[in-house]
């Protein structure tokens, strides 16, 4: 049923990304083969990767590993392995794939994932993270720590003073734990340099994101942003990571100047909410490409951190700025209504025609209640909004015919209104 568009989405940047990610996975494999370096498993939402880098501990994100599996169409057997062990069909498929991966010796087509020397559960919004790392702790026996990040819950939408103190104290405890695991003490000046690089990376990333405000958008802020997200988490704070974003910034700025976009023609500017369907990403993107629909902004690209509205890491107060990053500068730890506001800014400041909500079964943090979100945008904001469902990891929940039908109907209606606007209504028989 799929209609391949034959459009080549890959640019310079995608090639560079492939290269540095391959290098990253080679490092991971080397650790798995016992080169003595330490690896920590942590999670993407509001990740405190700077601290790990300060101890030369390689950050391993189970989410990145399992989405790689899904993109390579290899996630299902791992999911099923976990289901044999008693995990339910309704459990998050990211977790199931990772558990399956553990039982398969962490061997993947792209890397051998090292077992964790330490489990850092940065509990930033997602409650499933807690179950996930609890199970990994049970399976691997690695030392584990929950970093408890109080959720945004006050009228002003900001963390409380006590929240910041609490998180900073926990980060100090994490430092002690890392010192025990690595047998070295924290080199503060090296650490502040890393935070400094994170700040500059954030600056570049924020500017890159602002570029999609221009017409046409130089890149797709959903399908192409994911290309830039992996380095943002795995390499943030490193020289190489910083270089990647300098290259990205240059390439995108040139595209803006040249007025080139990802598609031959930008017919619809959309904001996409929710994680992508990794198992069928290309097919899914083609469904939008057929209509000349380009994402100018996406909430998913702010899972790891929300930089476009001004947050930067602060080398002068490294721990406190990391705490603030975890507490309030990522989409996961903000309230559902704050996400509405974020999307409204995207619609207004990025000049979008419509909102597309991709609801994934696995991730309730994102999806639970998106019907209300649709309601808000359609009723209160009069923004055409489409709600579609599949999953981010489990191919069994991707119903191609159904998705195509809804996406076609949605853009058909937008286009029909454009065409008939101003023209007299045809008289029915």
């Amino acid at each position: 049923m799929s209609a391949p568009t034959g459009i080549r989405y890959q640019g310079e940047l995608h090639l560079l990304q492939k290269e540095i990610m391959a290098k990253y996975f080679a490092e991971a494999t080397a650790i798995a083969q016992g080169n003595g370096r330490k690896a920590a498993h942590l999670l993407i939402a509001g990740n405190p990767v700077e601290l790990l880098r300060a101890f030369d501990v390689l950050p391993i994100y189970p989410e990145v590993n399992v989405l790689q599996l899904a993109v390579r169409k290899g996630s299902l057997p791992f999911i099923q392995k976990a289901e044999e062990l008693g995990y339910a069909t309704d459990n998050c498929a990211y977790v199931k794939a990772d558990i399956g991966l553990f039982h398969a010796g962490y061997k993947t087509p792209f890397a051998t994932i090292p077992k964790p020397d330490i489990l850092v559960c940065n509990y930033v919004g997602c409650n499933v993270y807690l179950n996930w790392f609890e199970h990994l702790a049970e399976l691997t026996g690695a030392p584990a720590m929950n970093i408890d990040i109080p959720f945004i819950r006050t009228a002003d939408g900001e963390p409380t003073a006590d929240d910041v103190i609490y998180v900073v104290k926990q980060l100090e405890e994490l430092i002690v734990l890392l010192e025990n695991v690595t047998g070295r003490s924290l080199d503060w000046s090296a650490f502040t340099k890393i935070v400094e690089r994170s700040a500059r990376t954030g600056e570049l990333w924020a500017e890159i994101k602002a570029m999609t405000q221009s017409r046409p958008a130089p890149y797709d802020a959903y399908f192409d942003s994911v290309t830039m997200m992996a380095p943002l988490y795995t390499l943030r704070g490193t020289e190489e990571g910083l270089r990647f974003f300098e290259v990205a910034h240059r390439e995108m700025a040139e595209r803006v100047k040249a007025g080139t976009g990802p598609l031959p023609e930008e017919r619809f500017r959309i904001v996409i909410e929710g994680p992508p369907p990794w198992p069928r990403l290309r097919v899914f993107r083609d469904m939008f490409t057929r209509w000349g629909a380009v994402a100018v902004a996406s909430t998913y690209s702010t899972v790891g951190g929300l930089w476009e509205f001004g947050f930067r890491h602060d080398p002068a107060h490294p721990l406190e700025s990391i705490a603030r990053h975890m507490l309030s500068y990522n989409v996961c730890n903000r309230t559902f209504l704050q996400r509405y506001e974020q999307m409204e800014r995207y619609v207004d400041e990025w000049h979008a025609d419509a909102v597309v909500i991709h609801s994934v079964k696995s991730c309730r943090l994102f999806s639970a209640g998106q019907g209300d979100m649709r309601e808000h945008f359609v009723r209160d904001r009069d923004v055409p909004t489409l709600l579609i469902e599949s999953d981010l990891e489990d191919p069994r929940y991707f119903s191609e015919a159904q998705l195509r039908n809804r996406i076609d109907a949605f853009f058909e209606a937008l286009e029909q209104r454009r065409i008939t606007a101003g023209r007299g209504a045809p008289v029915p028989a």
Binding site: A82, Y87, C126, N127, T160, I165, A368, D372
Partner: protein, 387 residues
């Protein structure tokens, strides 16, 4: 006649009350005392704070199987558990009007989003959100939770306009201590003489305790214990089971009854667990907010929404089976409940390691037909009795 339907037993008076989503006990309390009420979403919240602030804390356990979901599934998808939807539905059907405020806690992702969505759709109710900590190993956590409780207390007294003294708090701690102690006694009695206290009866009483002021309900619990003691039922040929997985969304009373009548005695369960979470009384000397915080961190029973790296829950369940001399465990898990479903994977591993027979069942509060579950429980019991 089954025990549960014994009209002379105190719980029989409340069988309908606990399923009535017009909240008669709450309306009666307001008429008598004129005080406002706060609906408390499961699993656990600091009820004492609300009580001290002059609110009647009321357990909000969804819509049960009498409410038809007509609006809420336009907000929440098919893969979201029923209690989230039915709570929203209660709002749309104006059933939450008796409440001036609603309390939600950081128990799972859908519940957290629900708190936001409720505040958007029903601004007339103040939404109080409590972030319960998940780092049980840090010395900083007790300070955090104490501060959090002070913050919550402030927003609660903002609802009633009452300034709360530490003595007010101590009085409330005491009231809930007594209520929880009475429930502990009833649970201990059922463990000892399950033939004289059916789970349906115990559940009705425990559920009633979530709908009334602790000061008013405790005498009823005492009365029930005496009535049960006075019975002299014959022990039936049934297996003793520990039931886990129903700590948040609640199964219909009829389901609890048909499970027991399919041939087992429930000698322990986790129904309404948040309302009887503490192992012993909360100390009433010293800083009451800190006492309540420490009780949650260090002195509460295992809970699927509390991730304590010091004490694996699977071990706690296995201990419970031993402690209650149970023959088996039944995992009765709410459909789409991620905390419950994740825990099952760990429980199953532990049960198999310990050779404890177990049965896995899924339920929904809005269930109406129990044939499938009945068949599975009967089979399970048959397989144990004819072993």
């Amino acid at each position: 006649m089954t025990l549960t339907l014994d009209p002379a037993f105190p719980s029989a008076r409340y069988r309908d009350v606990i399923e009535d989503r017009d909240f008669p006990t709450v309306r009666a309390d307001r008429e008598r005392t004129g005080r406002a009420a706060i609906g408390c979403y499961p699993v656990y919240g600091p009820l004492e704070l609300a009580h001290a602030a002059g609110l009647l804390p009321v357990g909000l356990f969804g819509g049960g199987n009498r409410i038809e979901i007509a609006h809420a599934d336009s907000r929440f998808q098919s893969f979201i558990c029923s209690v989230v939807k039915s709570t929203m539905e209660l709002g749309f059907q104006r059933k939450l009007d008796p409440f001036d405020a609603l309390m939600f806690e950081s128990i799972c992702d859908p519940a957290r989003n629900l708190a936001s969505i409720m505040s958007r759709n029903f601004p007339e109710q103040a939404v109080v959100y409590v972030h319960l900590p998940q780092n049980m190993t840090s010395p900083a956590t007790a300070d955090y939770l104490t501060a959090e409780y002070r913050r919550v207390l402030a927003s609660l007294s903002a609802v009633t306009g009452k300034t709360v003294s530490d003595d007010d708090l101590r009085a409330s701690l005491q009231a809930y201590n007594r209520m929880r102690a009475a429930l502990r006694d009833l649970y201990a009695f059922r463990d000892e003489r399950p033939q004289d206290l059916a789970t349906g009866e115990l559940y009705t009483l425990a559920r009633l305790a979530t709908l009334m002021d602790p000061l008013d309900v405790t005498p009823i619990l005492h009365e029930a214990l005496d009535a049960a003691r006075a019975r002299g039922g014959r022990m039936k040929d049934r297996i003793r089971v520990v039931l886990v997985g129903s700590f948040c969304e609640q199964p219909p009373l009829e389901l609890i009854e048909s499970i027991e009548e399919s041939g087992c005695y429930m000698v322990d369960d986790d129904f309404l667990l948040g309302w009887r979470l503490f192992r012993r009384d909360v100390p009433t000397d010293g800083d009451p907010c800190r006492a309540l915080a420490v009780a949650y961190l260090d002195d509460s029973v295992h809970l699927s929404t509390k991730h304590d790296l010091r004490a694996p829950r699977a071990k706690a369940i296995v201990d419970a089976v031993r402690e209650h001399r149970a023959d088996a465990a039944i995992c009765l898990i709410a459909k789409f409940c991620e905390p419950g479903l994740f825990d099952y994977a760990l429980y199953r591993k532990a049960f198999e390691a310990e050779a404890i027979p177990h049965l896995y069942l899924e339920f929904e509060e809005k269930m109406w037909l129990y044939e499938k579950i009945r068949t599975e429980v009967e089979t399970f019991v048959e397989s144990m009795l004819f072993r």
